[in-house]
């Protein structure tokens, strides 16, 4: 009896150790929110599909964190570069009035080469500054966003649906995707139950596909070498793996995923957000992957999936539930505390693979 009890306990402890306390607490909190919701007049079906749509929307952006973490470059605060590539791809595809899945595909196609180019440049950049990648990434991201703000006004886009109505030049701050490729992935094979529940199948298939691709990539020789560079640079060097090259490959991969993720985000969101919009977009993605249990030097696909679900769940549920309960706007503050608290928590934890 005693022995069995201990064993049982051991099992739970192991599970907890694997899953991690913060995730369990957050998951319970999230569950609690879902339980409370119906009592204060919030529809669970709507909330659940809101959450799912947002998971599909943000998943790939979170996934974009993985390659750089794995190669030891830390969290990709330079994600705005990928996002910019995604924006350029999307806007270019819309300039030609391409619609539906074709338009979406073309947006991705336009975005990828640009992302590769930016990724290579950024890779060289951070190879010059090993150890300070996150700080430099943040500022590179910011300055690129400001630079592109000038570009959005000057690039020769002429489609009247994209440019400022008043002057006919310069892209608008927000561009609607209605009539182009709004929700093409979300609606692809979408499942609707009742009037309120909606499952964005297409986005999930696409997200899963990207996850599998990234997972498969880390099983290839290059992928393994990349992880080796991140977890044990000396070992990698000894085996003739070029650290700098691997890091650049990882940055390119991250940036490309960021670009693709942005296009997916846009199709689901239905708007394109230019100018200073992308400035802080790296932060939610960073918070999500850390919430999923990643550290700044190791991240897995399951971290991405769990993190995205939990983070987006909290993001959709807290404002509406707390607002419904307390009739104040304190939710906004709670959101800031939760997301930054998570990043902080992860930064203070000693990662498994810390080599110092």
């Amino acid at each position: 009896m005693k022995k069995k009890d201990r064993m049982h306990k051991g099992g739970i402890e192991k599970f907890i150790a694997n899953f991690g306390w913060p995730r369990i607490i957050i998951a319970i909190f999230l569950l609690l929110l879902f339980v409370i919701a119906p009592f204060i007049g919030i529809d669970v079906g709507t909330s659940l599909s809101d959450m799912l749509v947002r998971v599909g929307m943000n998943g790939i952006l979170v996934l974009a964190m993985v390659p750089m973490i794995q190669s030891g470059c830390g969290l990709n605060f330079g994600l705005p570069l990928g996002i910019i590539a995604g924006l350029v791809g999307a806007v270019t595809s819309m300039e030609y009035n391409w619609q539906g899945l074709f338009g979406f595909g073309m947006a991705v196609l336009f975005a990828i080469p640009l992302a590769v180019l930016l990724g290579v440049m950024y890779g060289y950049f951070i190879n010059m500054a090993k150890g300070d990648e996150m700080m430099i990434g943040t500022y590179v991201g910011f300055s690129v966003v400001a630079f592109m703000s000038m570009m959005w006004l000057r690039l020769p886009y002429r489609n009247p649906l994209l440019v400022w109505g008043f002057s006919g030049t310069g892209l608008r701050t927000t561009i609607s995707l209605t009539g182009f490729w709004m929700k093409v992935l979300d609606n692809f094979l979408a499942i609707r139950i009742g009037p309120r529940f909606f499952f964005p199948t297409g986005s999930f298939i696409f997200f899963a596909l990207c996850c599998v691709l990234v997972w498969a990539f880390f099983k290839t020789k290059t992928g393994i070498a990349m992880s080796a560079v991140g977890s044990n640079p000396q070992f990698a060097r000894a085996h003739g793996v070029s650290e700098d090259r691997m890091r650049i490959v990882s940055v390119v991969l991250s940036t490309v995923l960021g670009a693709v993720g942005m296009v997916v985000y846009e199709q689901s969101y239905g708007f394109i957000q230019l100018y200073m919009g992308p400035l802080y977009m790296a932060f939610p993605a960073v918070a999500a992957i850390l919430l999923g249990g990643a550290t700044i030097n190791s991240a897995t696909i399951s971290n991405v999936v769990i993190g995205t679900f939990l983070f987006q769940g909290i993001l959709t549920m807290t404002p509406s539930v707390i607002n419904g309960m307390l009739q104040t706007d304190v939710a906004e503050v709670i959101r800031i505390l939760v997301s930054n608290g998570m990043i902080l928590y992860a930064l203070t934890r000693k990662g498994k693979g810390t080599v110092k």
Binding site: F147, V333, I343
Partner: protein
């Protein structure tokens, strides 16, 4: 090996300020702003921002990089200011009371920040950056929900109409420029706030003096090598926390000085940019995450703010579009930080490689 003085060496070690100076040399005439105006603006900004930037020097000494957590100090200063305004104080007493109130808050916040940074050794910069964001949430909670409900606020001009929470902007009618105006000298039509500069000078001297004390020496040892310092019996973690507390405290006073100069508090946003801009200024002044001096502070504030004032107009005249000027400024200010961080990192790596090569040569 003693480094010999060489022109090349001097150029390389002052690369960032030199790049900036060149930039300014082009941008100033392009902006079309007159020199007296710029001088006036620079003096005013040196008085306003030097103390804030000065707060970054001590953590660098302790090897903790650039302390983005200084915004916590700025928050403490602002809380002090809010209370002082609520109580209806004015003049110099108001500033002193605000400083008195800010002191315990910033010591507490500094301790918290130092504690967290001790848990995140090796990534202090990024961690302190996030602490800033995190505490901003706490700050908003305090000012928007606690003030007026838990903390009594009686001035209806400060309170939101809903009965609790502080308004988004606050005038400082009886506090505006009291420090600057108390003792000031007019030179060529420009008011020079002697007293403000005196306060800044006092803090500079304090820092210089502090470096020579036992604790200052310990701090330097910790900054150079944690393991060695630990071996020598220096309480590493405590010393690091102390460095952050001092930094937070100076930032608190710095924010008070800066707010009295500005004359308006933007309650929820005044402190946000303080960290980014102060760090940018210090970097522009030629400091690195490993090495910062008081000279860097003043050179940095001068150059960074010169660019800040000049670049929107310069950008506008350069591109001929009113709003591109604004983006141009943002691009330049963030870009410069990225580039200077990069240059420093590259320089550091270069030196390390050279050292390693030398060591290898020695072995063979």
């Amino acid at each position: 090996m003693k480094p010999k003085y060489s022109l090349k060496g001097a150029l390389i070690s002052n690369l960032v300020p030199i790049v900036f100076l060149m930039f300014a040399a082009f941008a100033v005439p392009m902006s079309g702003l007159s020199i007296p105006y710029l001088l006036h603006e620079m003096i005013s900004r040196l008085a306003r921002d030097s103390l804030l930037v000065l707060s970054l020097v001590i953590p660098v000494l302790a090897g903790m990089g650039l302390n983005f957590g200084m915004v916590l100090g700025a928050m403490a200063g602002q809380i002090g200011m809010v209370l002082v305004v609520d109580w209806g104080l004015g003049g110099m007493p108001a500033l002193l009371v605000a400083a008195l109130l800010g002191t315990p808050i910033s010591i507490g916040l500094g301790y918290f920040c130092g504690y967290i940074l001790n848990l995140a050794k090796g990534r202090e910069m990024v961690t302190s950056y996030i602490i800033g964001f995190f505490m901003n949430g706490a700050y908003q909670f305090l000012l928007l929900y606690c003030m007026g409900s838990i903390i009594p606020i009686t001035n209806p001009e400060l309170l939101l109409s809903r009965g609790y929470g502080i308004r988004n902007s606050m005038d400082l009618p009886n506090i505006r420029q009291v420090l600057d105006r108390l003792v000031s000298v007019e030179v060529f039509g420009m008011d020079i706030p002697i007293l403000t500069f005196a306060v800044i000078a006092v803090f500079c001297l304090l820092i210089v003096w502090f470096k020579t004390t036992k604790i200052g020496q310990d701090m330097r040892a910790v900054g150079r090598n944690r393991a060695v310092a630990n071996g020598a019996g220096i309480p590493v973690e405590k010393t690091r926390i102390l460095a952050i507390i001092i930094s937070t405290l100076i930032a608190c006073y710095g924010q008070i000085v800066s707010l009295q100069n500005l004359g308006t508090i933007n309650t929820y946003n005044s402190h946000e940019q303080v960290g980014i801009f102060s760090i940018a200024a210090l970097l522009v002044g030629g400091a690195t995450a490993e090495n910062a001096s008081i000279a860097n502070v003043f050179v940095g504030v001068f150059l960074f703010h010169l660019m800040f004032v000049v670049s929107p107009m310069a950008g506008k005249n350069l591109i001929g579009d009113a709003q591109l000027g604004e983006y141009f400024r943002v691009f330049v200010s963030y870009g410069i930080i990225a580039v200077s961080l990069l240059l420093h990192a590259w320089k550091k790596r270069h030196e390390m490689l050279e050292r390693r090569l030398l060591e290898n040569d020695g072995k063979e």
